[in-house]
């Protein structure tokens, strides 16, 4: 009796907890690799980059375009997206979405309604990267063909991962990360920017794939700054790097300084530690940024003797100055130009002392621009890579 009851309970539970599913054959699916959402005066414009598997793999690959772009407009995103079926013969599936591009106009008007549309859909995986298209239409960004990666979305996806690590002026924002930045008090989001460089006349033709120098490329540009869910402007490259330093992404960055006696030193950063703390001075909140950076010398263009410790110390001091400058610059831009707390200083105060935050929360917008930030950077040069001194020394002699 008891056993039968348990077994039937098990069956009922398992039937009731199936989740969402539906069978569809692969040759009835259109796999969406990139989704673009923009807005014109009244309507939403949805552009979809759909894979054309037969052209990517299989027997007659390469004879046609590897992707197809569909676009439709509607008064809501959903409506536009459903209208795509007037052109597309297959069921759109989003579970392999790699890139989501927002139009600049839409971003400036606010992303919140769109985010709901995306996150409410059950079949979307949360590992795609968000971009804002700078000075260009979303449909164009999605339609540029790329030679190195057959799928343009994958090209963009892979290159933002590499650019984040080695170039440093961009960041990888996924949908959950964006939402978490949006809902965290005292923190504003940033989103990677993307633009088209070159001649877009043939960017959506396979001709674009046949030249050594591509006529048109999709290029990642520095970060877009948001205030709440609205895009307010763009950081420059240096400020974007500063943002990444403060948020602890500085590993693998290259820091270039000019020595007082002339000549450049390039340092590759091996590890960074960032300590953000909130403090109070004269009844005013302030933020302390303490950074510990370890790096190795990656190249010098002068004959300075690196075997002498005082020279290394001097380089360390110069590096500290330079990085402090970068951080200060980024903070200045965020405070004075955009008044957007992208570093999450408010969040730091909130976490350190929520009572203080309670009193600041409502007029944080007025406080943030004049928030005092103490920056302290400690750089340690731990090596000089494969060489000691520059060969310049030998040449001069």
């Amino acid at each position: 009796m008891n056993r039968k009851f348990l077994i039937s309970l098990l069956i009922i539970i398992s039937i009731a907890t199936t989740g969402c599913w539906d069978a569809r054959e692969l040759d009835e699916c259109a796999i969406v690799s990139a989704l673009g959402i923009d807005k014109d005066a009244t309507c939403y414009i949805v552009s979809l980059q759909v894979l054309n598997p037969g052209q990517i793999a299989g027997k007659n690959k390469g004879s046609g375009s590897p992707v197809i772009t569909y676009a439709a407009t509607g008064s809501t995103v959903f409506e536009a997206y459903r209208k795509v079926y007037t052109e597309c013969p297959r069921k759109l599936v989003y579970n392999h979405l790699q890139v989501l591009v927002f139009g600049e106009k839409l971003a400036r008007e606010g992303l919140a309604p769109i985010l709901d549309f995306i996150t409410r859909r059950f079949e979307i995986r949360a590992d795609f990267v968000l971009f804002v298209a700078k000075n260009t239409s979303v449909k164009e960004v999605i339609s540029v063909l790329t030679p190195a990666e057959v799928i343009p979305a994958e090209s963009l996806f892979n290159s933002v991962l590499l650019a984040k690590e080695f170039w440093g002026a961009t960041t990888v924002v996924t949908i959950d990360k964006l939402i978490s930045m949006l809902v965290t008090e005292g923190k504003a989001p940033v989103v990677a920017g993307v633009e088209i460089s070159g001649n877009t006349d043939s960017s959506d033709k396979t001709d674009n794939l046949k030249k050594v120098v591509m006529p048109a490329t999709v290029k990642i540009v520095p970060l877009g700054v948001f205030k709440k869910d609205r895009l307010v402007g763009w950081l420059n490259e240096r400020d974007s790097k500063g943002y990444n330093y403060i948020t602890g992404m500085g590993k693998n960055f290259l820091s270039v300084i000019t020595l007082p006696q002339g000549g450049m030193v390039e340092m590759k950063i091996l590890s960074t530690k960032v300590f953000l703390t909130a403090a109070e001075a004269e009844e005013q909140p302030e933020i302390n940024i303490k950074m510990e950076i370890e790096g190795t010398i990656n190249g010098i263009s002068t004959d300075i003797d690196l075997l002498k410790e005082e020279n290394i110390r001097m380089i360390e001091a110069e590096e500290e100055k330079e990085i402090e400058n970068i951080l200060a610059g980024a903070i200045f831009t965020a405070q004075k130009q955009y008044n957007s707390d992208i570093f999450g200083f408010g969040d730091v105060i909130h976490r350190t002392n929520y009572r203080v935050w309670e009193s600041l929360r409502d007029n944080w917008d007025e406080i943030f621009p004049s928030l005092h930030v103490n920056i302290k950077v400690k750089v340690r040069v731990t090596g000089t890579s494969l060489k000691a001194n520059s060969i310049l020394e030998g040449i001069k002699r």
Binding site: W21, D22, A23, R24, L26, P53, I56, A57, G58
Partner: protein, 479 residues
């Protein structure tokens, strides 16, 4: 019916039983110094060794003549006792007093010696019927280990086991099963190692068998199983004497059946079907890895087609993008849904497999060529099936051959289709429900009262060393 006193009457009776059988031979002769002893021998041509009988009769008459001369024996009883105790002292015989027993002995290859004036006769084991010589087992070959396999003759098979276990505790109980075939069956176990109640249980089940014919050990397997409807085998069969010996030493019981080289071993649990005797002859690390490989292959052959169907039609978010594109590109040209495609290819494969067993050996190469061409090349080029599906079915097929006991792979063959149907209708959810059902069933199975999933569930720590892995033999215990 008991034997008569008169030899003539007995001979008549035997002839009457023989009826129209031309291969029943009954010869009467007179011996002794005064030609005073009349005797008869009866045997069946082909079953009994003719040379042996000839030799036996020669010796007997000669001996009796000499003995008669020196001892003046007259009474038939004395002759009988002489034959029984002195002349045949080196042979295996039984005393027979009735015709039923007599016939049975005759039919199992014995030679009957009858004497005038006595209502009993001697059945001399003279089984010399033609049989296959010992060769290496065909279904369970090994690279390392004894190459001897069982043969069809029960006596030889018993010898093969005795040759390995030289201990008086090794018990071989004989039985005759089958109302018409009267097949000899031997229950073998090691007293003291094997649980006595288990032996009783086996004997009880064997005695309960009421059937006309036992043609192969498979008949017995089916009749002594705990549950007849399970597709999982609960009785192990082997052609290898070393496997039998090893299982006997583990306290199991072997059932030998005359006329087949396949020996049954009970009780059999799930993990046994993944063990080969070679595991114990090779380095334990390698053996353990190979066992893991077998379990992996078991899971592969069971689930790969089902998973392929489930992932491509229900959960394509679980497939890496690049792979999905590849699969999708292949699916572009194929006309059938994935499930039908899988079913089609699996069915073709099963047909080839079955055909290759039934086909005469000479045509085997033609079959494999046609199979390779049809399945491999033509089907893909014609766009009927996709390459991915071909890989899946190929992998499944190869994996199913890795199991050392092929009756487990029968079970898997059937279940694979069940899982495919479940996957096609409910996706991964269906597979998991099926898996749960399968596990429930496996855990509820018993082989002669022993839980089928032992030692995994219920957990028996002592025998865990040799369940999934093959850990090294215990040195201290060995000393």
């Amino acid at each position: 019916m008991d034997l008569h006193i008169k030899l003539i009457a007995n001979i008549e009776q035997v002839k009457q039983i023989a009826d129209k059988n031309s291969d029943w031979v009954i010869r009467s002769f007179i011996c002794g110094k005064n030609r005073s002893i009349s005797m008869a021998v009866a045997y069946i041509q082909g079953l009994a060794d003719k040379n042996y009988i000839q030799q036996m009769i020669n010796d007997l008459t000669e001996d009796l003549e000499q003995y008669d001369a020196s001892n003046k024996l007259l009474a038939n009883q004395e002759v009988f006792e002489y034959i029984q105790n002195l002349h045949l002292s080196g042979s295996n015989f039984t005393e027979v007093t009735d015709f039923d027993k007599l016939c049975q002995q005759l039919l199992s290859g014995d030679t009957i010696i009858m004497l005038d004036g006595l209502s009993k006769s001697l059945a001399l084991s003279s089984g010399g019927s033609e049989g296959r010589s010992i060769s290496s087992p065909s279904s369970q070959g090994v690279l390392r280990g004894p190459q001897e396999g069982f043969v069809e003759k029960l006596a030889t098979n018993k010898t093969l086991i005795r040759k390995i276990i030289k201990d008086s505790r090794l018990q071989i109980e004989n039985k005759v099963i089958g109302r018409v075939t009267k097949t000899s069956v031997a229950v073998v176990y090691v007293k003291g190692i094997c649980d006595g109640s288990l032996v009783k249980k086996v004997n009880l089940r064997l005695e309960r068998i009421a059937i006309d014919g036992i043609l192969e050990s498979g008949n017995i397997e089916e009749l002594i199983q705990d549950r007849a409807f399970s597709i999982f085998p609960t009785v192990l069969n082997t052609e290898r004497p070393d496997t039998v010996a090893a299982e006997l030493l583990n306290g199991r019981i072997a059932i030998l059946v005359d006329g087949t080289p396949f020996v049954l071993i009970v009780p059999a649990v799930f993990v046994q079907f993944f063990q080969a005797s070679e595991d114990y002859y090779n380095n334990y690390i390698i053996s353990s890895l190979i066992r893991v490989l077998r379990y992996t292959a078991f899971l592969l052959t069971l689930f790969v087609p089902a998973l392929y169907i489930a992932l491509t039609t229900f959960h394509n978010e679980m497939i890496p993008t690049v792979l999905l594109i590849n699969i999708a590109a292949q699916a572009e040209g194929t006309p059938f849904p994935t499930f039908i495609e899988a079913l089609l290819l699996e069915a073709i494969f099963e047909i080839f497999r079955e055909a290759s067993i039934r086909m005469p050996k000479a045509i085997g190469s033609a079959i494999s060529m046609v199979g390779g061409l049809v399945m491999g090349q033509a089907a893909v080029q014609a766009g009927i099936v996709s390459e991915g599906m071909l890989i899946v079915v190929g992998l499944t097929a190869m994996s199913s051959f890795i199991l050392p006991h092929y009756n487990m792979s029968f079970a898997v063959r059937i279940l694979r289709f069940v899982f495919m149907v479940l996957a096609a209708s409910f996706g991964l959810f269906g597979i998991f429900i099926g898996l749960m059902g399968m596990l429930f069933h496996l855990c509820s199975l018993r082989s002669l009262g022993v839980p089928y999933m032992e030692p995994l569930s219920p957990r028996v720590t002592k025998t865990q060393r040799d369940a999934i892995l093959r850990l090294p033999l215990n040195r201290e215990e060995a000393e």
